[in-house]
Symmetry: C3
Subunit: 361 residues, 3 copies
C-alpha cells in the first residue's frame, strides 16, 4: 500500500532528499458508503433506516507516524491516528481526536516498549481473524457483549505501557500490556485499569494466537455489576491459508467476576476467498450467553444470537476498492444485538446491506 | 496558487520524486483581522464591539486532498477540509473537525460521484456570484433567512451523495445531490433530508447558473414550522466580465412549505473591479420578506432589509493579501439582520468595518 | 532539532525540489511517561496516584508552520500548534484544537506583527528561565496563583495583536501584545482583555529580561474578585552561562487590583548542568502570599509554599531523550499547591516522581 512520506530536512538548511532514518509518514483511509438497516423485534416492531457508514472494509482514519534510527540497533518512533467520519465531517471520538492510537515507542533487539493510548492485546485476535476485519455490517463485534460491565477496553485502552516481542523468533509473536487506570474511582469510566497479553505462532499457511485481558470496573455500566468487579476476555483463534481460500476459526469467552454471574461464549468460522481482482468474505458467528434467572434481561441463559455475513471487495487498485456487505443477525430470548443502530431487535432480527468505496492514501 | 504537496512513496522504499498520479496535498488559509461592529435597534439601543474575525476574504481553513489515477480514465480522490479559528485556536465546528468538506470520489468520463459531507448545490451560486465570496462583514449571507425552519443546509449537508457533470461539455456545468437525512425524526436537527441541483453555462466573459434545493425539516427551529415542513431555495445568478470590471447579479428565493406561509426574496447586484495589485469589491443587497400578519415578528411582510458593502483587497503575492471591508445594513419592520454578532439591530442598523490579512499555503 | 518540511510545488506542475521561500513545516513532540504522585494534607490525609503525564521535558504537541518571502525584505508566515495527549489520544484543550498557537504574521525590517491566539509576553520569562522549562512535576507553575482572579492569560491569550522587535538590535529583544477581550461581559471568561510587554538583553553568557502583563477580569473565578478587577504580573529574570553550568534566577510578582488586596511574590533560583550526553536540571522556588485576614483561605499572609526539584535528561539523539524528574512541594498555612492532581495538599506536602521519553519530529 502506498503511503505519503513527508520529506524531512534540517530546519533552515533544506535538503531535497530525505533519509529513510527520519521519515514522517502521513496516512489515511476514507471508507464510506450507503447502508440499509432493518431491525425487527420479536414482537414485530420494525425500524428501517438509510445510513452512511464509515467503516465498510476499513474504518476511516487519518494518521501520522515516524521512526528515528538512534544507532546501535535502537529506534524511537511515534504514531498518532484518529478516526474520520466522512458522513458528517467528524474526527475522533469525543475529546479524543487521536482516538485510534497515540503512542511513543523505543525499539531494539529486545522488542518494542510502547507508551500511550493503544489497542489491547485481545483486539488483535478479534480483528486479525474476523473475515470482516472487525468492520462493516457483518463484523463479529455485533454479537460481543461486555456483559453490562461498561468496560471500554474491548478495542483500546488509555494510559498503557505495552511490550512487543521482537521479530525473528521463528514465527513466534507476542505482546503484553498494562493500563494505569489513572485516577481510579474519582475519574471517568474510560479510565479502566487493565492488563492483558497475546501469544501467537505463524508459519507458512498457518497462524494461531491466544490472548487474554482483564479490566477492573470502576463505574459499572448497568445494574448488577459493582465497582471492583472485573471483565475478563479469553480469545483463541487460528487461520489456514489453502490458497483457494483462507479458513478462519475463533473462540471468545467474556466473563464478569464479582457480584454477577455472567459469561458469553462466541465462536466464529469464516473464510476469505480470492476471486480475480477481488475477494469474498464470509463468516458465521454464534454467541452463547450464560447467566442465572436473577440477571437482567439480555444476560440470561436464553439470550443467545447468531449472525451470518457475506461480503465482496473489488480492488480498483491497491489503494482503492468498491465493496458490498450483507449481514443477517438473529436474536434469541431477550437478546438485542443489532448490525447497526438505531432501533431495537430484541428477540428478533437485524439485517444490514451496505455498499461503498474504500480509498487509502 | 501554490499548494503544499506531500511527496508520496512506497512505504519502506522511499523514492525522492513523487508521481503526479498519487499526490496528497496539504493546503490551508489563515485569514484574520480586527473588526469594529455597531448594532443599533430601531429604538436606539446600541451595541459596539471590537472583534477578531476569521473570514475577511476567505474563511480560515486547513485541508488534505489527493487524487489517484486508477487507469482507463478512472480516478479516485479524497478531500478533508475543516475550518480554523486563529482568534481562539479553534478548529472545525462542534464535533465536526472536517466541517467544511469530508468526501471520497470516483471520477471518470462520466463525471464525478462524491460521497460524504459536502457543499450543497445552491451554495455554489451564493459564493460564486457574491462579490464578497460569502465572506466578511459585507457578505450576502447577512440578509438570508432560513425562515425559522432551522434548516442547516444553507451551505453544506451531511450524508450526501453528489454527482457532477464532466468538464468538456462546451461550457455547460452542473451537479445534483441527495442527503440521506440519516436517522430521521430520531436524530438531531443537523440530519436534514435534502436534495438539490445546479446547472450553469460559462463562455468567454459570461457565466450564468440556476440552482434549487429543498430540505425536509425534522426539528423546527422556531414557532410555526412543524416537522415535515420543507425549506426550499431557488437561486439564479450571472456575471459578465467587462474587463475593467466584472458585474454580477443574483436572485434568491427561499420558502417554507407546510404549516407556515413565509417567503423571502433577495436580489443582489455587485461588481469586482481590478485595480493595480488589488481589486475593489462592491455589492448592494435587498431582502424582501413575505409573510402574513399571523407569522411571528421577523417573518412578516414589512420585515425587509437592505445592505451595501465595499471592500478592497491588496495582493502582496498570490498567496498573501491585506484587505479592508465596510458594510452597512438597514433593517425595516421587525427585521433583525446583523453584519456580525453580538447585539440586536431589530428595526435598526448594523455597521461593520474590518481590516486584516489573508495568507494561504 | 530536525523538523519535517513538506515539499511545496505549484499544483498540477509538481517539482521535486522545494524552495526555502515557501516551505511548510510539520513538527511535533510526543513526550509521555509514568508518574507517581503523593499529596498529603496538613492533617495527614494522603492521596497517591499513578498517572501518565504528557509534559515531562516538553509538552506533547503537533504543529504546522510556514514562511513566504514576499520580496523587498517582507515575509508572511503562519503557525498552527496544538497540544497532544498521548495518554488518552486527546488533542488541544476543549474546543481549541490549536490551543498552543494559531497566528498569521507579517515580518520585515520593522520586526513582526502577529495576529491570533498566542503566548503572552510574561510567559516567555517563565518558560525561558525556569530550569524545567515550565514542564513536568517540578515546574515553577506549580506554585503560581492567579489569586482567584480566574485570569486565563498566564500562558496564552485569544484575540491578540502582537509586535516583536526585529533581530539585529545588538542583543536587545522585546515584544508587546494587546488582546481584544472580545465580547466583553457577554462572553466567556476565556475572553480576558489583556495587554503586556517584554524587554530583554542577551550578550555572550548573559541573558536578562523583564516582562509585565495585565488582564481585565470579566468573570471572577472565586470569591472576592469582582468584574472590572485586574490581575497584574511582573517578571524579572536572568541567566548566566558559566560553561560548567547555567545559573538562573527569576522574580515574579502577581497582584489583583480592585476589590481584593492580594499579592504573591515568587522567586526561583536554579541551574542547568551539562553532563555527558545529558543534563541535570535543578530549581528551588519560594512563593510568598500577601493578603489580609479578610481574604479567603489560600490568599492570606501565611499561605506560602516552597518547592524544590531535580531532573535528569539523557539525550539518545537530538530528537529523542529519556528523562526523570523529582519534585517536593511544601505548603504553609492554608496554601494548597500540588505538583499534580488529584488530591489535596492543603497545608501539607506534594511529591512527584516521573520518568518518560521525549521524541520530537
Amino acid at each position: 500500500m502506498k503511503k505519503s512520506l513527508l520529506a524531512l530536512a534540517v530546519l533552515g538548511a533544506f535538503v531535497g532528499a530525505a533519509s529513510a532514518q527520519s521519515s514522517v509518514t502521513l496516512f489515511g483511509i476514507i471508507d464510506t458508503g450507503v447502508a440499509r438497516i432493518e431491525n425487527k423485534t420479536g414482537t414485530g416492531v420494525k425500524t428501517t433506516t438509510n445510513q452512511m457508514l464509515n467503516d465498510g472494509v476499513n474504518t476511516s482514519r487519518l494518521g501520522l507516524r515516524g521512526i528515528e534510527d538512534l544507532g546501535g540497533g535502537l529506534k524511537a518512533g511515534f504514531h498518532l491516528e484518529g478516526g474520520v467520519s466522512p458522513d458528517t465531517g467528524g474526527a475522533g471520538v469525543g475529546n479524543k481526536f487521536w482516538n485510534r492510537r497515540a503512542t511513543v515507542s523505543l525499539l531494539g533487539n529486545f522488542g518494542e516498549v510502547r507508551l500511550g493510548r493503544d489497542y489491547v492485546p485481545t483486539f488483535w485476535n478479534l480483528t486479525t481473524f474476523d473475515p470482516f476485519g472487525y468492520n462493516g455490517v457483518a463484523q463479529i463485534a455485533n454479537v460481543i457483549s461486555t456483559l453490562g460491565s461498561g468496560a471500554s477496553t474491548l478495542v483500546r485502552a488509555d494510559n498503557t505501557i505495552g511490550y512487543f516481542l521482537p521479530s525473528g523468533l521463528g514465527g513466534l509473536y507476542g505482546q503484553a500490556m498494562i493500563a494505569a487506570g489513572e485516577g481510579g474511582a474519582n475519574a471517568t469510566q474510560a479510565n479502566n485499569k487493565y492488563y492483558g497479553g497475546r501469544l501467537g505462532y505463524a508459519a507458512g499457511p498457518f497462524d494461531v494466537a491466544a490472548a487474554y485481558g482483564q479490566t477492573k470496573i470502576d463505574f459499572p455500566g448497568s445494574a448488577g455489576v459493582v465497582a471492583g468487579d472485573k471483565y475478563k476476555m479469553w480469545n483463541v483463534a487460528g487461520s489456514w491459508n489453502f490458497g483457494v481460500a483462507k479458513a478462519v476459526a475463533q473462540w471468545i469467552q467474556g466473563k464478569t467476576s464479582g457480584a454477577t454471574d455472567r459469561k458469553q461464549t462466541i465462536w466464529q468460522i469464516g473464510a476469505v476467498v480470492p476471486l480475480g481482482q477481488g475477494e469474498i468474505h464470509a463468516a458465521y458467528d454464534h454467541a452463547n450467553m450464560k447467566g442465572g434467572a436473577g440477571e437482567p434481561a439480555g444476560f440470561r441463559d436464553a439470550d443467545d444470537a447468531n449472525q451470518w455475513g457475506i461480503g465482496y471487495v473489488y480492488n480498483l487498485s491497491k489503494r482503492t476498492a468498491l465493496y458490498a456487505n450483507y449481514s443477517h443477525l438473529k436474536n434469541k430470548g431477550a437478546s438485542n444485538f443489532t448490525v447497526a443502530t438505531p432501533g431495537s431487535a430484541a428477540g428478533g432480527t437485524s439485517t444490514g446491506v451496505q455498499g461503498g468505496i474504500r480509498h487509502s492514501f
